[in-house]
């Protein structure tokens, strides 16, 4: 239990996917202009990332490792993620139209969100057990959503700020992200290794 809690805290705050591994930067810059869409995207990522790490773990350890097909790792993982996204989309559309309304448009974007594939790859290199891998995927998603929502909150306020013309848009967003990354570095003291 303690291990799982440690994985959760370190993945959400200390080794945050966005701010210290730079995974999922594209949606981080693209969807963070409005708070509402940031929330929708965040929830969709939590959902898919948890499922994707769980299924990738099962396939990697029970199929690829048994057969020694390690070189197929990347192809298999990306196929798992792409088909998972597709299935989740169809499933939600069928059973919960309300949820589909809010998450639907973000789901196709998730296939190319590198944080999902990143989570699957890290889970392999770190030799996580099944439960650890699931918690890792879940907390990776939570960490992503947290930063995405903080960023969206800042950017909504930033609209009213007087930003120099050449810094408008992407540059000021990146500099804001830089300051956020500095702030999150403060969390690294939470766990003494």
């Amino acid at each position: 239990m303690k291990d799982l809690l440690l994985i959760f805290i370190s993945t959400v705050l200390i080794n945050n996917f966005v701010l210290s591994y730079f995974l999922g930067i594209c949606p981080f810059l693209g969807v963070s202009a409005k708070y509402e869409s940031a929330f929708g995207m965040g929830m969709a990522v939590v959902f898919v990332m948890t499922l994707a790490t769980a299924i990738s773990w099962i396939i990697y350890h029970l199929v690829l490792a048994k057969l020694g097909l390690f070189f197929l790792e990347y192809v298999v993982f990306i196929l798992v993620i792409a088909s998972l996204v597709q299935i989740v989309e169809m499933f939600i559309r069928k059973f919960s139209p309300a949820l589909y309304q809010s998450l639907g448009i973000y789901l196709p974007l998730i296939t190319t969100n590198c944080s999902i594939l990143g989570a699957a790859l890290f889970m392999v290199t770190r030799n996580y057990k099944f439960l650890e891998a699931v918690v890792f995927g879940f907390s990776g998603g939570i960490g992503f959503s947290l930063v995405l929502m903080i960023m969206a909150g800042i950017r909504e306020e930033l609209k009213y700020a007087d930003v120099p013309r050449v810094f408008k848009g992407a540059p000021i967003t990146l500099i804001t992200a830089s300051l956020l990354a500095l702030i999150f570095m403060g969390f690294s003291g939470l766990i003494s290794s």
Binding site: Y74, V75, T112, L182
Partner: protein
């Protein structure tokens, strides 16, 4: 020819289209890492564009993205195995960011937006231009971060030891900062040339 040149500046993948940000920010702690990542991307982009534009007529529209992704993943696996065998040190430093080229939006973006519509020759020029554009972006970003963050350039010390290295440059925070300023500089140059 225009297909080649536009990727170098006018439609620069990183600085103009903001594509492929993950490897851009993650591996550029040194200039050499940026350069190696750039070369890997050029290779994958070139061959994926080649294959995609060759098979564009026989791939059904509905499954095209899945097909492109599998093609890209195959070439990325080749690069990854090659790096591991030939340049184990670089491979170790780039870590998971080599396999992550699969989901680099530059490659899928060029396959979808260009290679699946134009002839093989045009696609190859487009791929080379975008790849080289990407590489110089990474190289500059890596150079700034390496020189300011650890006083070296390509591993050789170039600043006197009296210069206190700005450690923040090699940390994640510095990556965002330098890239932000690079895009702002690009905007400024663009504005002046108008």
């Amino acid at each position: 020819m225009n297909n080649f040149i536009k990727g170098l500046w006018k439609e620069h993948p990183v600085l103009r289209q903001l594509l492929g940000m993950c490897p851009t920010l993650a591996v550029t702690t040194t200039a050499l890492n940026g350069l190696s990542m750039g070369c890997a991307v050029i290779f994958v982009l070139f061959f994926s564009s080649l294959v995609v534009s060759l098979i564009k007529r026989i791939v059904p529209h509905q499954v095209r993205i899945a097909v492109y992704t599998v093609i890209i993943a195959t070439f990325v696996t080749i690069v990854d195995i090659f790096f591991k065998a030939q340049f184990p040190k670089i491979s170790e430093q780039l870590g998971p960011y080599v396999p992550l080229i699969i989901v680099n939006c530059i490659i899928l973006g060029r396959c979808e937006a260009f290679a699946s519509r134009y002839s093989v020759k045009d696609s190859l020029f487009d791929a080379l231009g975008m790849g080289i554009g990407f590489t110089w972006g990474l190289f500059i970003l890596g150079t700034v971060r390496e020189v300011l963050g650890s006083r070296t350039f390509l591993g050789i010390e170039i600043l006197p030891s009296s210069f206190n290295p700005l450690v923040v440059m090699v940390l994640p925070s510095g990556a965002f900062l330098v890239l932000g300023f690079m895009i702002a500089a690009m905007n400024k140059i663009e504005e002046r040339s108008k």
